[in-house]
């Protein structure tokens, strides 16, 4: 799903805009059910978007990433790294050449041979997990509730400010690990 809460701080959330946001999130939510559909829908997006999405899937180990959020991560990372496009190609090439199919192996290989690429790969991982690109006053929140970190723990806790269970649910025993 796209992040339905991404109203820019100074923009009033008019009812019309809320409807648009809701419609968009429902549409994408439906389409994101399978990776194949996402590919189809965004077939006419720039090749760079597709390359970023594909590398993101490898680096996060998740085939079902949201293409809209991917585009926003890509744009934000691009403003901080002018080499992003070429580095994405290089990292993907490294993975393909060495038949590396998971993030651990890929990062280990990059650490060993191409440390500057490892740094970029980690910036992509950090973006997807935290939802934020950069830090300090320039940090950009791309998504909040849809950051992967929350997905990892959703059987136990929720993104703060969201409530997804009945009141007083918290006295029940959480998962053991």
């Amino acid at each position: 799903m796209s992040d339905p809460h991404a109203i820019p701080p100074d923009q009033p959330a008019s009812p019309a805009r809320r409807r648009v946001l809701l419609a968009t999130s429902l549409l994408i939510g439906t389409l994101a059910v399978s990776g194949r559909l996402v590919q189809t829908v965004f077939a006419d997006t720039p090749a760079q978007d597709a390359a970023f999405l594909q590398l993101s899937q490898l680096l996060t180990g998740r085939p079902q990433l949201d293409a809209t959020i991917a585009h926003r991560f890509y744009s934000a990372l691009g403003t901080k790294n002018s080499q992003l496009d070429s580095q994405i190609q290089e990292i993907a090439g490294e993975a393909q050449t060495n038949s590396l199919t998971n993030a651990d192996e890929l990062l280990a290989a990059l650490d060993a041979n191409k440390p500057e690429l490892a740094k970029t790969a980690r910036s992509i991982v950090a973006a997807w997990y935290s939802g934020v690109v950069g830090d300090g006053p320039d940090a950009l929140v791309i998504t909040y509730a849809n950051a992967l970190m929350f997905d990892l723990v959703k059987d136990a806790t929720m993104p703060p400010s969201y409530c997804q269970a009945a009141p007083l649910y918290w006295s029940a025993k959480p998962p053991l690990a």
Binding site: H5, A6, I7, P8, P9, A13, L59, G61, N102, A103, D104, L106, L107, D111, A121, R122, V125, A126, Y129, S130, V132, D135, P137, A139, L140, V141, Y144, A145, A147, M149, F150, L152, V153, A156, T157, M158, P159, P160, S161, Y162, C163, A165, A166, P167, L168, Y169, W170, S171, A172, K173, P174, P175, L176, A177
Partner: protein, 540 residues
């Protein structure tokens, strides 16, 4: 007389929990009230969106952008609103809000009563000061405050040291697994951990819903299950209070009999306006209230109003805090339910207070997912190892913090700076030093932290011994029975001005070891009662 934009029976300056409670109570009794708020009105949904869209999730001020005409402290980045000096300057880098509803937009909602001995520190323990009133004077007002704010607490007979005549309005919320497990282990090992009374609904109360565990009490409860001052602002307006926002009071005027006759305020464009009333309630927070008194100096009152004692702006207190973080040897999953549910209370009172500060320790039940993620990312992990590290840290992290008492010291003070804000009003320069009385206690707290970490087989035990501010601003317009060394009397009335009342934690003459909001609320309701008598309205 009906309130209009220029005049009312009672002028209330400040729309936080203190001012709003006074305004509501008086308006409900048919008294005309004009309430002035320096800052703007913010909608709850906007604050929630600001939180979700903001990058500095640890900064409770972030969702409340300071206005240019009525700035409040911001630290990320620092807007330098408070000019901080002295050896412990950083420990007074306080957070408060200049917006309609005040700082209880973001608070833990802990609603402790002070202990009887907190009011008589000099008399009982030979340190600090006495208030001039006792716990018994406040007890009925504590209860009324609990009713107004909607406090849930342990009705099972748990003794919290402050004798009660009635049950809490609501029973306490069930503990999270984290709090329950922590409580079981600590209570079996010589600590005393209790369920904390909080202004958070355990059932629908006062047209607000039951807490559903958004785990976001600070910086904003999305559903108003937690009390905030805005509740009584809205109630006061419905009862007839006239609220002026963006009205920055910068001077009180006195007549020949030393009575306050008017408040002058600036609008955001810098134009001055004047409002008149019979009584004035200064409820603009401990620092801003003292600042207004200091800015109101005249030939006769050269040191500012209410300041013949020279104590306005002095005796600044807070609850200097320390903390510890470690990884437990079992999953506890903080982040389920409200952000804080329990406290360790075995050193709130006792003869040790002659030598060192009382304190309260509290377990953090805030979600650790984000911090766990940032830490795991900083370790350079990716893939399955990253996922496992995040889950491990999010489920095993224990964070405990504390409030320590501090003695009132006249040298801990605020003065008006030569530097000015956007409206040309002086900024505040604050000098702060934390004495050995507090430091001795913090050393003992460090040992307690170490013991607790050991009980949970703690690893990566990280002590945060540098004193942190807890934003409980006290002492600036201190209460006492002697007009020569205090600013207000036991009724919170300025010794020097018969029709001026101070509704702020600034009046508190000792800091004790617990959050001060319930005491502010109780004192404010008592002020409202005094005013009703003064204005000839029957009171119950």
């Amino acid at each position: 007389m009906r309130a209009n934009d220029h005049s009312a029976d009672v002028i209330v300056i400040g729309s936080g929990v203190a001012g709003a409670l006074v305004a509501h109570d008086l308006s409900a009794a048919g008294i005309s009230v004009l309430m002035l708020e320096a800052g703007p009105h913010l909608e709850r949904w906007r604050i929630v969106e600001n939180y979700r869209n903001g990058a500095n999730k640890d900064d409770n001020q972030q969702p409340y952008p300071a206005s240019k005409h009525a700035p409040h402290p911001e630290y990320k980045p620092d807007n330098d609103y408070l000019i901080l000096k002295g050896p412990d300057a950083k420990a007074y880098a306080s957070q408060y809000l200049r917006v309609v509803g005040g700082t209880t937009w973001h608070w833990a909602a802990s609603c402790w009563r002070f202990l009887p001995n907190d009011f008589h520190m000099k008399q009982v323990y030979g340190v600090g000061r006495d208030w001039g009133i006792s716990y018994d004077d406040l007890e009925p007002w504590y209860y009324k405050a609990e009713l107004e704010l909607g406090v849930s607490g342990p009705n099972d007979g748990t003794d919290l040291g402050s004798p009660r005549k009635q049950n809490y309005p609501m029973d306490h919320l069930p503990l999270s697994y984290n709090d329950q497990r922590f409580s079981d282990v600590l209570n079996a090992n010589g600590f005393r951990l209790v369920s904390e009374p909080v202004a958070r609904n355990s059932r629908p109360y006062d047209e607000r819903p039951t807490c559903c565990g958004n785990n976001n009490c600070m910086p904003i409860c999305p559903i108003a299950a937690m009390y905030s001052g805005i509740v009584h602002v809205l109630k006061a307006e419905r009862a007839g209070t006239r609220l002026l926002t963006n009205a920055v009071v910068y001077r009180l005027e006195v007549d020949a009999h030393d009575n306050i006759i008017a408040a002058l305020y600036k609008d955001p464009e810098g134009n001055s306006h004047r409002v008149t009333g019979k009584y004035f309630v200064l409820a603009a927070n401990a620092l801003e209230s003292a600042k207004i008194l200091l800015m109101s100096n005249t030939d006769k009152f050269a040191n500012g109003l209410a300041n013949s004692s020279d104590q306005v702006g002095r005796n600044l207190m807070d609850h200097p805090g320390t903390g510890v973080t470690f990884l437990a040897n079992e999953p506890l999953w903080p982040g389920r339910g409200p952000m804080e549910l329990t406290s360790i209370v075995d050193h709130r009172d006792g003869d040790f207070r002659r030598e060192w500060a009382s304190k309260k320790l509290h377990l953090n039940n805030q979600s650790q997912t984000r911090k766990a993620t940032l830490k795991a990312l900083s370790m350079g992990l990716a893939g399955k190892k990253l996922d496992e590290e995040i889950r491990y840290r999010a489920s095993h992290t224990v964070n405990i913090n504390s409030f320590h008492d501090i003695l009132p010291d006249p040298d801990n003070r605020l003065v008006l700076s030569d530097q000015k804000d956007a409206l040309g009003l002086p900024r505040m320069e604050i000098t702060y030093k934390i004495g050995d009385y507090t430091k001795r206690s913090a050393e003992h707290t460090h040992e307690s932290y170490a013991k607790i970490a050991q009980l949970f087989g703690g690893t990566e035990v990280t002590f945060d011994d540098a004193f942190a501010p807890n934003n409980h601003l006290m002492g600036s317009v201190i209460m006492g029975s002697n007009p020569k060394d205090s600013v207000v009397d036991g009724d919170c009335r300025a010794h020097d001005h018969a029709n001026l009342y101070l509704a702020t934690s600034g009046v508190m003459a000792s800091a004790g070891s617990v959050n001060c909001t319930l005491t502010i609320a109780a004192l404010s309701l008592r002020i409202a009662d005094t005013l009703k008598r003064q204005l000839g309205h029957v009171t119950t």
